[in-house]
């Protein structure tokens, strides 16, 4: 350096820094990887859609998987599927989080000599399994085959396997098995199965404790049917001791014991009717007073039943007694609903399942995609059969298994599932497997000694459906999502057996507290607990996240000295639990309700240690009163422990305080006249925005919205919304762009003592948005098409926009969001993944708007109404959200602007939202 004088030094410095700086403006080189041989049907940048079947619950809705460059990003309902017709519930939307779950099993596990499960190769594990099966099949019926509801190819394969293994021990286990409904149908109609419920054709729908809008049998399909019925003027009444979400959506809540109430109605209906003399005799003791039914209410209900197409539905987990189901069967019968709206044309895949299983006398048990040890842990410490578990995730069952074989999730597998007889719903892989797992069918074929792949097995099974050319039939079936056969009508009749003995339990009065456990909307029977979206979505009624809770009546809470968030201990003869209490006005005194699905011990990072397992309180044995496991109706003791429940409740305040955010009105005979609506002129000192050619708007029908949260899960999936976890959610940092706002209120009618109002709150895309003038950098601005734009790369994070938003729909990224691999594979490539320090909010799925406009331009046609559905609107099973171009007078959205139920939230602030709401109707 001694030769370098000052001039050179400056020169070097100058050139060096210039070069360095110049290098700084270029980004570091990336690698572009082309295909070697590109797949024919794929255009990079365009999505491919593969139709399949959702297997998140036994309902078997049809789905379409959106695949971009070989990765599934989102799942939507299949509009051509007879079960759900295009809608998809939140659990279905969360299926992608099962596919990309970071805790998925990646290698087979074999229990070693030391007693611990060790990773093994596929060859080793299959050899071990084959050896085990070979040894066991020497004795007859020594091998058991357990699945959940599995009607379809898997059932056939199971039968083939068992035959190969010299056994007939077929176990179909579902914790939620509706045993009582099926047993009641067997007794009443000689048909031991679930009925087909034609909600759409009924005009008086009476729900006795069941939750058809949440988890009962086929919730997406039932939601569609019920919504259709209500749009045609139907009225829904809920009978039960706990107002579930379904009950909250009913027009009336008749509080009491559902079975007793049903029999009281049967008694009134059969009065003086010679046809039903025998039934009248059984119903004699059930006076309205006995049932807690006011005589005038009883009369009104009876009149309604007589005047309308009727449908009553019973059971579900929350009212799982045989007597309840029989009572409702009788009600349907005397009301003339049997063979009309309540039919038995098709068997359900749940007809052959049971909520109890018997593994005694087995040497080996194969458990395929089921988790019996979560709800029914084995009592014996040692002994019992050797278990071979085929599962995608670690579960309580795999923890106890001897050999664990990791299988594909449904989105990676072949399959066919028959939710209802004749509805053959196909499953096909939407992408290559994420991990080194295998198709369960392939594994089973191998273990049973058969040759070939599961795909061919299914194809062979489907040959019988094709009339002519099988290959084109098969292609059509894959494109359609399955094959639907007509079902011949099958009538049933009342058997005439004496049911008075079975009805007697309804007359008993028990003392103390009754426990109701119910399948939760988010986790169903527990299988959804490892999907972070489902944990983060608040329960619609309690608004609790990442936890379990015990619902307690306010009077009982006062007596026990319990407040929401306190820790309480629940004790039954089966066990005890400590969990947080939630004081809920919608539950009768003497009832304590706990949702199922949490409290996992081996189900991954998002489920372990979260909440408590309510199954621990319930005897996992057949109960004569229920026909299966008696999830509700048992006695429970409750006492306060301390104030450390650790409950996180998302809602700030439970009452609307006269702000008209979630509006409802009474309609029907006897309802007061609707208030005069004053049309306020929209004044502004600023020039009006011009919206050409499109102006996007949305209408949300609060009468159709059931609060199921499908829209919320869909939005998470579509827009790369991060999950923040319990601790951050407690600080109000959840990132959901659309939220369900739940308000409690005093009832407006005599018979409805308490009501729940729901609304969906999302960015209202205001025409006079308060967030726009206050953003210092124009990150929030008004687009030419009526949207309120949020440009993430411009946002500096002052949060003034959120402060000025009256709806508080803007969410700030407080931390850098992270997705545990491979959950980041799910991220939508058409939407930015936001960095920390920026504000985000609903964009009306602008990426879909842009994509639709692009497609229309390429196809040289104008955009049509219905071309664009934001993720929330697309997923709603009730089709409650309508989106479109309000500049087009023929569009649905434009016509809805003139609907007399239409209002906008906080209109008086002159924000001019693009989102309208249609008032909910309570029909009295």
């Amino acid at each position: 350096m001694s030769e370098t004088n000052r001039r050179d030094f400056v020169k070097i410095l100058g050139i060096g820094s210039a070069a360095g700086l110049a290098g700084c403006t270029r980004t570091a080189p990336d690698t572009l990887t082309p295909y070697v041989v590109p797949p024919e049907e794929m255009v990079r940048g365009h999505a491919l859609w593969y139709r399949a079947t959702c297997r998140e619950c036994p309902a078997g809705c049809g789905i379409e998987a959106r695949v971009r460059e070989g990765r599934v990003h989102k799942v939507e309902g299949n509009p051509e599927h007879p079960v759900n017709g295009g809608g998809l519930c939140s659990r279905g939307q969360a299926a992608v989080q099962g596919l990309y779950n970071p805790d998925r099993l990646r290698t087979p596990l074999v229990r070693g000599a030391g007693g611990a499960l060790q990773p093994a190769s596929w060859q080793e594990a299959l050899d071990a399994a084959s050896a085990l099966l070979a040894k066991a099949r020497g004795r007859k019926d020594a091998i058991g085959f357990m699945t959940g509801a599995s009607a379809g190819a898997l059932d056939d394969l199971a039968a083939d396997c068992l035959k190969a293994w010299n056994s007939a021990r077929r176990i179909r286990y579902e914790p939620v098995a509706y045993d009582s409904v099926r047993a009641a149908n067997a007794l009443c109609f000689d048909r031991p199965g679930l009925p087909v419920l034609r909600f759409a054709e009924a005009r008086a729908i009476y729900v006795f404790g069941a939750d058809p809008l949440e988890t009962y049998v086929s919730p997406a399909g039932y939601t569609r049917g019920i919504t259709e019925a209500r749009r045609a003027g139907a009225r829904m009444v809920f009978f039960g001791s706990r107002l579930s979400l379904t009950g909250a959506r009913a027009d009336e809540w008749v509080a009491g014991e559902p079975g007793r109430l049903a029999m009281a109605l049967v008694r009134e209906l059969t009065a003086g009717d010679a046809r039903f003399a025998a039934i009248r005799k059984w119903a004699e003791p059930f006076t309205p007073e006995r049932a807690g039914l006011k005589p005038e209410v009883a009369q009104k209900l009876v009149r309604e039943i007589r005047a309308n197409a009727f449908l009553a539905v019973a059971g579900g987990v929350a009212a799982s007694d045989l007597a309840d189901a029989i009572a409702v069967n009788l009600l349907n019968h005397v009301a003339g609903a049997i063979n009309k709206t309540v039919r038995f044309d098709r068997a359900s895949s749940l007809d052959t399942v049971s909520s109890v299983f018997d593994a005694s006398g087995l040497d080996a048990l194969l458990v395929v995609d089921a988790n019996p040890f979560y709800t029914a842990p084995p009592k014996a410490a040692a002994g019992g059969p050797k278990i071979v578990a085929l599962s995608s995730y670690p579960t309580e069952t795999t923890a106890a298994a001897d050999i664990v074989l990791p299988i594909h999730t449904p989105l990676e597998s072949w399959g066919d599932y028959e939710p209802w007889a004749g509805i053959h719903s196909l499953q096909q892989p939407a992408m290559l497997p994420v991990f080194e797992t295998r198709d369960a069918g392939d594994v089973l074929l191998k273990l049973s000694g058969a040759s070939g792949e599961y795909r061919d097995y299914i194809r062979a099974r489907w040959k019988k459906f094709a009339s002519a050319d099988f290959e084109s039939f098969w292609k059509d079936a894959l494109k359609r999502g399955g094959h639907w056969e007509d079902a011949p009508a099958r009538e049933v009749r009342l058997t005439g057996a004496d049911l008075s003995a079975q009805l007697k339990p309804l007359l008993e009065n028990a003392s103390g507290y009754m426990l109701q456990t119910y399948a939760s909307l988010a986790h169903f029977d527990g299988r959804g607990a490892n999907r972070p979206w489902l944990q983060e979505m608040p329960d619609p009624l309690t608004q609790v996240v990442w936890d379990s809770w015990a619902e307690v009546n306010p009077d009982d809470a006062r007596k026990l000295g319990v407040k929401t968030g306190d820790r309480v201990r629940l004790r039954t003869p089966q066990g005890q639990l400590q969990l947080a209490a939630y004081v809920y006005p919608g539950i009768l005194p003497g009832t304590v309700a706990v949702p199922l699905g949490q409290g996992h011990t081996n189900f991954g990072r998002y489920a372990n240690g979260v909440g408590v397992n309510a199954a621990a309180l319930v005897a996992q044995a057949p109960d004569p009163a229920a026909g299966g496991v008696r999830w509700s109706g048992g006695r429970v003791e409750i006492e306060r422990v301390d104030a450390n429940g650790g409950l996180v409740v998302i809602s700030g305040h439970d009452l609307q305080e006269s702000r008209g955010i979630a509006r409802s009105r009474l309609t029907g005979a006897g309802a007061p006249a609707a208030a005069e609506k004053r049309e306020e002129p929209e004044l502004s000192i600023y020039p009006e925005h011009e919206h050409k050619p499109y102006r996007w708007a949305m209408a949300i029908d609060l009468d159709a919205c059931t609060g199921c949260g499908a829209c919320i899960a869909a939005c998470y999936a579509e827009n790369n919304v991060p999950v923040v976890g319990k601790e951050e959610a407690a600080r109000g940092r959840e990132m959901s762009w659309i939220r369900l706002e739940r308000f409690f209120g005093p009832g407006e009618t005599v018979s409805a003592p308490f009501q729940v109002d729901l609304t969906l709150m999302l960015c209202q895309q205001c025409d006079g948005a308060p967030c726009e003038p206050v953003c210092p950098v124009f990150a929030a601005y008004h687009t030419q098409e009526g949207l309120n734009g949020q440009i993430y790369n411009r946002c500096v994070g002052t949060r003034y926009c959120s402060n000025n938003c009256p709806y508080k729909t803007r969410r700030f990224n407080w931390f850098q969001a992270e997705w545990a691999a491979p959950l980041d594979w799910q991220l939508n490539p058409d939407v930015t993944a936001r960095t920390r320090g920026v504000m985000e909010k609903c964009t009306f799925c602008v990426q879909r708007i842009v994509e639709a406009k692009d497609r229309a331009r390429r196809e040289a046609r104008p955009l049509a109404d219905g071309d664009i559905a934001p993720a929330c609107a697309q997923s709603c099973p009730a089709a409650a959200i309508v989106f479109g171009n309000v500049n087009d007078p023929a569009s649905r959205i434009a016509r809805l602007q003139a609907n007399d139920r239409r209002y906008r939230a906080l209109e008086e602030l002159n924000t001019r939202p693009a989102v309208s709401y249609l008032e909910r109707e309570r029909r009295i």
Binding site: E3, T4, D8, K11, I12, I15, G16, A18, A19, G20, A22, G23, T25, R26, T27, P29, D30, T31, L32, T33, P34, Y35, V36, V37, P38, V43, R44, G45, H46, Y781, T783, Q784, E785, L787, G789, I791, Y792, N793, R794, D830, V831, T832, A833, T843, V846, Q847, V850, D854, R857, R858
Partner: protein
Amino acid sequence: MRSILLALLAVAGVAAAIEPGQPINFSHKIHAGDNKIQCLFCHSGARRSTVSGIPSVQLCMGCHRMAAVNKPEIARVRAYFEKKQPIPWTRVVKEPDYVFFNHSPHISRGVRCQECHGPVETMTQTRLDHTLSMNVCVACHRQRGVSVDCYTCHR
């Protein structure tokens, strides 16, 4: 002397950033220039999709099964194809993550590839002709009277 060496190093560094090295010495001049192959022949995605795409190895082999077979670079392409390995091209044009550029409306409205990518048909080595910063896009959009709404590119 020392300063000259340093200066050369610096220039090389900058050059490497603008005109990165490629695994195969592909020359657009030969293909698009001398042989007048249409841009869309290889980059077919540009017409109907957001991304223009890089031609698959199979597309290269489509011609080079017979054309210029004995050239050493072609032999390397063939080796990639036979080993079923994709050619790891080094990316030249990259916009930040928050820019959602869609080729399709540009191509369909007659914007020539050269307007943004420069005179590619004269390039023996693919390079970035000019940085495609926001003012370049906005200026052209304004000139043609097309939307300058932020949502057009930023979502």
